[in-house]
């Protein structure tokens, strides 16, 4: 008998993609897709059940379909669509929804495996933190609110569940900033601005993970572990390497406007109140101090190697967005023109490897 997988949060594009991908796995028998609103995209051959995970009804769904694997993807920072709800609704779905879902799982003896999508936001971003977070690093300053706090609470409930149901394999995947050609996260929104406001005097280190890799690692975590690997526990998921915010701006070809930190905070809260953008304080902290996580556990224990590096992910994202005001190609061409005007440029060929000066 094959497996029955229940996936929450399928009305989002990432959830929808995961559901379609999951059906191609040979040992997956049925996929039950759950969300409170019907998705706009098709879900392949998955059975869509319209259920709100904040209501106890979810327990019935679990029992009725004899679900043995639960993939909880309905932990998100932004509301789905522009119209529906604000921060309060998001928090309720994240926290109350997870509590209900875990309560239902606890009562469902068939459940053998639980995968939870979390975020590296749980580490916060502070100048006094170590440069690289491992899964065991305690955050110096716990996130005070917003999505990061939700994620911390969600992880707390998941830990409680793992204690009460030791027979269930629990995997918590902490994703770095998810980007891809069709990403619609607050960070993707930020990178779509024509001019990027940055915090004066700070150049944060950022890490990205590609949507394709997110789907693949969720597949790895929701299946039985391959030989020599272990897919229960907490794992940081991020592409290799690091990009500075200044590098991302130059690669996008967008000018940056440094703004003093107090002004940024003020501007952010004003814009949030007016409702122009949902740019939260934790996003501002990320763009001030940056965050880098260690992915050794992902490689060695989980046995997953992402296809895209951080730079590769960003490139894929940038290609989908079109050029900015200062396309890097044009700037490079301008420099080349100047170099060609140099006397002796023909003899010298300046782009051969120059010996380093000192």
């Amino acid at each position: 008998m094959g497996k029955v997988v229940l996936v929450t949060g399928v009305a989002r594009r990432l959830g929808g993609r995961f559901v379609r991908r999951l059906q191609r796995e040979p040992d997956v028998d049925r996929v039950i897709a759950v969300d409170a609103v019907p998705p706009e995209h098709h879900l392949g051959g998955a059975e869509f059940v319209r259920a709100d995970i904040r209501h106890p009804m979810i327990a019935k769904v679990l029992a009725e379909h004899a679900v043995d694997t639960v993939v909880h993807m309905d932990v998100n920072g932004t509301p789905l669509g522009r119209a529906r709800g604000g921060r309060a609704t998001v928090k309720e779905i994240n926290v109350i929804g997870t509590m209900q879902l875990l309560g239902a799982c606890q009562k469902a003896p068939a459940v053998r495996r639980l995968v939870v999508k979390s975020t590296t936001n749980v580490y916060g971003s502070a100048p006094r933190d170590p440069a690289v977070f491992t899964e065991t690093t305690p955050p110096k300053s716990l996130p005070s609110g917003g999505f990061a706090k939700d994620a911390v609470e969600v992880e707390g409930y998941v830990r409680g569940f793992a204690r009460r149901r030791p027979d269930v394999a629990v995997a918590v995947l902490r994703f770095a900033n998810i980007l891809g050609p069709s990403a619609d996260s607050p960070l993707a929104e930020y990178f779509s601005l024509p001019v990027l406001p940055t915090v004066f005097g700070y150049d944060p280190r950022l890490q990205f993970v590609h949507e394709d890799d997110v789907i693949e690692v969720l597949i790895v975590a929701s299946q039985d572990p391959a030989r020599g690997t272990l897919n229960s526990g907490t794992f940081n998921i991020a592409g290799d390497g690091v990009l500075l915010l200044s590098q991302t701006a130059r690669r996008l070809g967008k000018p940056t406007v440094p703004v003093l930190l107090p002004a940024v905070t003020l501007l952010g809260s004003m814009m949030r109140n007016v409702g122009i953008t949902d740019f939260s304080p934790e996003q501002i902290r990320l763009l001030t101090h940056g965050r880098v996580v260690d992915t050794t556990q992902m490689r060695e224990t989980l046995g997953f190697t992402p296809k895209f590096t951080t730079a590769g992910t960003f490139h894929d994202f940038a290609v989908g967005r079109g050029p900015g005001l200062l396309p890097p190609e044009r700037l490079a061409h301008a420099v080349d023109t100047v170099a060609a005007m140099l006397p002796g440029a023909g003899v010298h060929r300046p782009y051969e490897e120059e010996p380093n000066h000192g």
Binding site: G201, R205, V292, P328, V347, H348, N356, H357
Partner: protein, 406 residues
């Protein structure tokens, strides 16, 4: 005209630091193909059109001709004694001068005149290889403005550090503090090492200078990765530059990760206690924290290299500490020196003391068992050993020192 010939030579040898330049020698070979008469012929019309630039250009040509002569004789001498290092720069420079000369003729007339005139000025200012430098600078600029460079997970930008940050600090190192570096070979050429230094001087110039010392003087050109106080990462601009220069927060996690990656890590265990101590207590080492650096070295099995810095104590003689003001500003201390804050920013100019940086014999830690890092007695003993070594070396260097400023 004599300065046009002498200054570049001098400048070039200094900037080169005896590193091998295979490219330069190859170019030197190419020089022989360039016909000597060509520049004269092609450049003549341009000279007739412009009266203003003519004398300068003539001067330039005379200078290049002389340089070529000089190079001829120098390279001859070099061949004679089998590779005299002084001959190399001269040869290379002459090669560039030879490249420069024929090309203006191929450019449109006004552009040719302009670049030629600028070239003459640049030649005199920067030395004969200005073109190569400009080309190198342009390709550097090209990489920077398109974001096509790499940083490591700590935000260390090796290219920027090598090409810009170190070049900014080098004049201070060479000409202002005239730092003498001893025993830099005690840092292993491969694998991790923990360099432990004394800390002094109100502002952490000593840490930056140690970084230059390792970068410029170590035979394998190793990079020192400094561990900095958390205050550094709170301040805007400073934190950005510190990360790009390869510094990171002084915590066990970061130190262990860096040492595990085989980097040379620099640490000042005295911290603010050493940096902000009054002038009267100069060269008295403060407490070495809880010995966290020793535990980290034991855990990673890397050698500890004690490092003593003499001269940094006197750059800002701190005679007072405005504690209330410091607390108000959130700083660990607020220095009062004979010049600061009375002269404002001018008071922040350090005194030009003469420095010595001595790297001591490495203390191996790889023969201890893994659980040694959790043995407080051993950690304390090793901490004391490192501290004593630095203190004794400081006394020795102070006895040898002729004066604070020379």
């Amino acid at each position: 005209m004599a300065d046009a010939k002498v200054i570049p030579l001098d400048e070039d040898t200094r900037s080169r630091r005896g590193t091998a330049r295979p490219g330069g020698r190859a170019a030197g070979g190419r020089r022989k193909n360039a016909p000597a008469g060509q520049p004269e012929l092609t450049a003549v019309p341009a000279e007739e059109h412009s009266e203003g630039t003519a004398p300068r250009r003539r001067g330039l040509r005379r200078a290049t001709a002389r340089q070529e002569e000089g190079a001829e004789s120098a390279s001859g001498a070099g061949r004679g004694d089998g590779g005299d290092t002084a001959a190399e720069p001269a040869q290379e420079e002459a090669a560039h001068a030879a490249h420069a000369a024929p090309s203006p003729g191929s450019l449109p007339l006004p552009v040719g005149m302009l670049t030629d005139a600028l070239g003459g000025a640049a030649d005199r200012l920067l030395g004969g290889s200005w073109e190569r430098r400009v080309a190198g600078g342009l390709s550097f600029l090209r990489r920077r403005i398109t974001g096509d460079y790499e940083v490591d997970e700590f935000g260390y930008d090796e290219e920027l550090t090598d090409q810009v940050l170190m070049s900014l600090l080098r004049p201070l190192f060479d000409n202002y503090f005239r730092i003498e570096v001893k025993g830099v070979g005690n840092i292993p050429s491969q694998g991790g090492a923990l360099v432990v230094c004394n800390h002094s001087g109100t502002l952490p110039w000593d840490a930056l200078m140690t970084q230059v010392a390792v970068h410029d003087h170590h035979p394998s050109g190793r990079h020192l990765r400094l561990l900095a106080a958390d205050l550094v990462f709170v301040l805007p601009l400073i934190n950005e530059l510190a990360r790009k220069a390869g510094h990171t927060l002084a915590c066990a996690e970061d130190a262990q990760l860096l040492l595990g990656n085989g980097e040379v890590v620099g640490v000042m265990p005295e911290g603010f206690k050493g940096l902000g101590k009054p002038f009267s207590e100069r060269y008295k080492l403060q407490r070495f924290g809880r010995g966290g650096f020793v535990s980290t070295a034991l855990r990673t099995g890397v050698p500890i290299v004690p490092c003593s810095i003499v001269g940094a104590e006197e750059i800002y003689p701190m005679v007072g500490n405005a504690k209330t003001l410091a607390r108000l500003l959130g700083l660990p201390y607020f220095p009062v020196t004979p010049t600061f804050p009375w002269l404002g920013l001018l008071g922040m100019v350090p005194l030009p003391t003469k420095w010595t940086i001595q790297f001591g014999e490495p203390i191996p830690t790889d023969h201890y068992p893994p659980e040694a890092a959790d043995d407080p007695m051993l950690v304390f003993n090793l901490t004391d050993q490192v501290r004593e070594t630095i203190q004794h070396t400081l006394y020795k260097l102070l006895v040898q020192r002729r004066s604070v400023f020379f």
